[in-house]
């Protein structure tokens, strides 16, 4: 230490720091290309918060591709069940509701071999499954409920998804309410098309007659009043190209945290 003058020391430090910074920038560029290739870049990666959004999505996707959301014993189901407030239903919804949702349809289109339209009864003809999982709102509150339905992957198997499809985009009957998930979540065994809750039909307040449950993400990804689902390899074609209605109103597309 004492052999080096402060000036020499600072020059050496400057050079090593400069090299480290250059390596860092180069490394980032390479990392970005690899991340994109392996589907680790979210559609809302642009802008000031793109770095954080990408880091979270990439890290969690690597860590949680096959992990299962925690399931709880029946005794932990929240009583009374909590239902977040929703806007008053549209006239179209009210008409279907008056008919007991007999005419409710879920259309599945896009990159599939056999586009299809499912009635609720057709969805219920698949083996019914249930999960007792938690809904967590980004605001901070939470509740546990039993969710009854059919795993989305069963329906995706029936329509035969094209191997190049990368995302499932899904739409509520209510306006400006749509979202999307990557195939890891779309094919995940706990991603459910839900038509029942706590041993009964799914109440309208909780998203009935049909709600997509994505239990490994924050509540807003579990879109209520599901009527349409389409498979795609490019989210730019939808809305403002940010992957869902959430980033358009300032919320992140990926909501695993």
């Amino acid at each position: 230490m004492s052999e080096l003058s402060p000036r020499k020391l600072s020059r050496r430090k400057l050079i090593t720091t400069g090299l480290a910074a250059a390596a860092g920038v180069g490394g980032l560029a390479v990392a970005a290309r690899i991340a994109d290739k392996y589907g680790l870049v979210p559609p809302d990666h642009g802008g000031f918060y793109g770095l954080g959004a990408t880091m979270t999505y990439a890290a969690q996707r690597l860590l949680t591709r096959h992990s299962l959301a925690r399931e709880f014993p029946r005794s932990m189901i929240s009583k009374p069940p909590f239902a977040n407030e929703v806007a008053p239903p549209s006239d179209a919804f009210k008409r279907l509701q008056a008919g007991g949702f007999a005419d409710w349809r879920l259309t599945v289109t896009g990159m599939v071999a056999r586009p299809a339209s499912f009635s609720l009864d057709q969805l219920k003809s698949y083996t019914t499954q249930s999960q007792i999982t938690m809904v967590q709102c980004e605001e901070g509150w939470s509740y546990i409920a039993e969710w009854i339905g059919v795993p989305l992957f069963r329906v995706l198997q029936a329509v035969e998804v094209h191997p190049d499809a990368r995302y499932a985009v899904y739409f509520s009957m209510e306006p400006d309410w749509w979202d999307s998930i990557d195939m890891a979540d779309a094919l995940h065994p706990q991603t459910f098309l839900t038509y029942g809750m706590n041993g009964d039909i799914l109440p309208v307040a909780s998203g009935g007659p049909l709600r997509l449950r994505v239990p490994r993400q924050i509540g807003y990804k579990s879109v209520k009043y599901l009527t349409h689902l389409t498979l795609t390899d490019d989210l730019k074609k939808f809305g403002k190209g940010l992957g869902s209605a959430s980033p358009e109103s300032g919320y992140s597309w990926y909501a695993g945290i």
């Binding site: 230490m1 004492s2 402060p6 430090k13 918060y49 770095l51 954080g52 959004a53 880091m55 979270t56 969690q60 860590l63 949680t64 992990s67 299962l68 959301a69 925690r70 709880f72 932990m76 929240s78 009374p80 909590f82 977040n84 407030e85 938690m134 967590q136 709102c137 980004e138 605001e139 901070g140 509150w141 939470s142 509740y143 546990i144 239990p215 490994r216 993400q217 924050i218 109103s249 300032g250 919320y251 992140s252 695993g256 945290i257």
Partner: protein, 266 residues
């Protein structure tokens, strides 16, 4: 410590035939460049995390213990503030604007930056001897008497002596170690324990805390502890001499040319 590096340098100045007492000799840096850079990046991140964290809390200023909690369940405690959502019963007639979108983006982005900066600081601190020399307390100082004396002088708002300017006292060392190795890891852990995806891969992270709402309440508690640390930290900097301490943390240098500093050090 600063004195052990200072003395040989002064000696080498003499051996090169320079007068030892001239004030132009560059004194040893009070804080290394890495400590200074990581300190200020952490400061910016902490401010972003605090502002966005407050924004997120006001959307639901109720806290619970256990797995779940919502407007229909009893609270552990609630903050006496209005909320940014009209669903929350706060007793106030007005609803604050909802700013959770950018708040969540900013919160997680700042968390990533501070995690990388923290890792850089810790790894470098281990190898450079920063923790050993500057932060681990001397065995002789670890007595209630010494600790009590220091706290007493702080409570009387006494300015620290010149000797204390060049090295941390035992209370400072223990506080910084507690913040670096207890509070920061715990705030990261409790934050991750709220992530539904993270706990799907590592369920123990939330289970050992007693549930997701417990994790949220603990996250709030640790954040509060960090804010209290920040206030005391800034208060002490003010007391010790705001300009000289800021100068030391920005440029690395103490104000030079004071004979008393040197005699105290030796």
């Amino acid at each position: 410590m600063a004195d052990s590096t200072y003395i040989p340098r002064a000696a080498s100045a003499v051996s090169r035939g320079l007068p030892a007492a001239i004030p132009t000799v560059t004194p040893p840096a009070r804080h290394s460049a890495l400590v200074r850079i990581t300190h200020w990046i952490t400061t910016v991140c902490f401010f972003c995390l605090l502002v966005s964290g407050v924004e997120i809390v006001i959307s639901h200023p109720r806290f619970y213990w256990g797995e779940t909690g919502n407007d229909l369940t009893p609270t552990l405690f609630k903050l006496p503030i209005p909320a940014s959502r009209d669903l929350v019963p706060t007793g106030y007639r007005y609803v604050l604007p909802d700013e959770n979108g950018w708040s969540r983006y900013l919160h997680f982005q700042s968390a990533w930056v501070v995690i990388f900066i923290g890792m850089l600081y810790v790894v470098r601190g281990l190898f450079s001897g920063h923790f050993r020399k500057d932060l681990f307390p001397d065995g002789a100082d670890l007595s209630w008497r010494t600790v009590g004396k220091i706290i007493g002088s702080h409570l009387r708002l006494q300015r620290p002596s010149e000797a204390e300017s060049s090295s941390y006292n035992v209370v400072q060392r223990l506080t910084y170690l507690f913040v670096i190795f207890v509070l920061f890891p715990f705030v990261i852990w409790t934050g991750l324990a709220m992530s539904p995806a993270f706990v799907s891969a590592v369920p123990a992270a939330v289970n050992v805390l007693g549930g997701q709402q417990s994790a949220r309440t603990l996250h709030f508690g640790v954040s509060l502890a960090l804010v209290i640390f920040l206030l005391v930290h800034v208060g002490m900097v003010w007391l010790a001499g705001f300009r000289s301490r800021m100068r030391a943390m920005i440029t690395g240098r103490m104000i030079t040319g004071r004979a008393s500093t040197r005699t105290d050090l030796i």
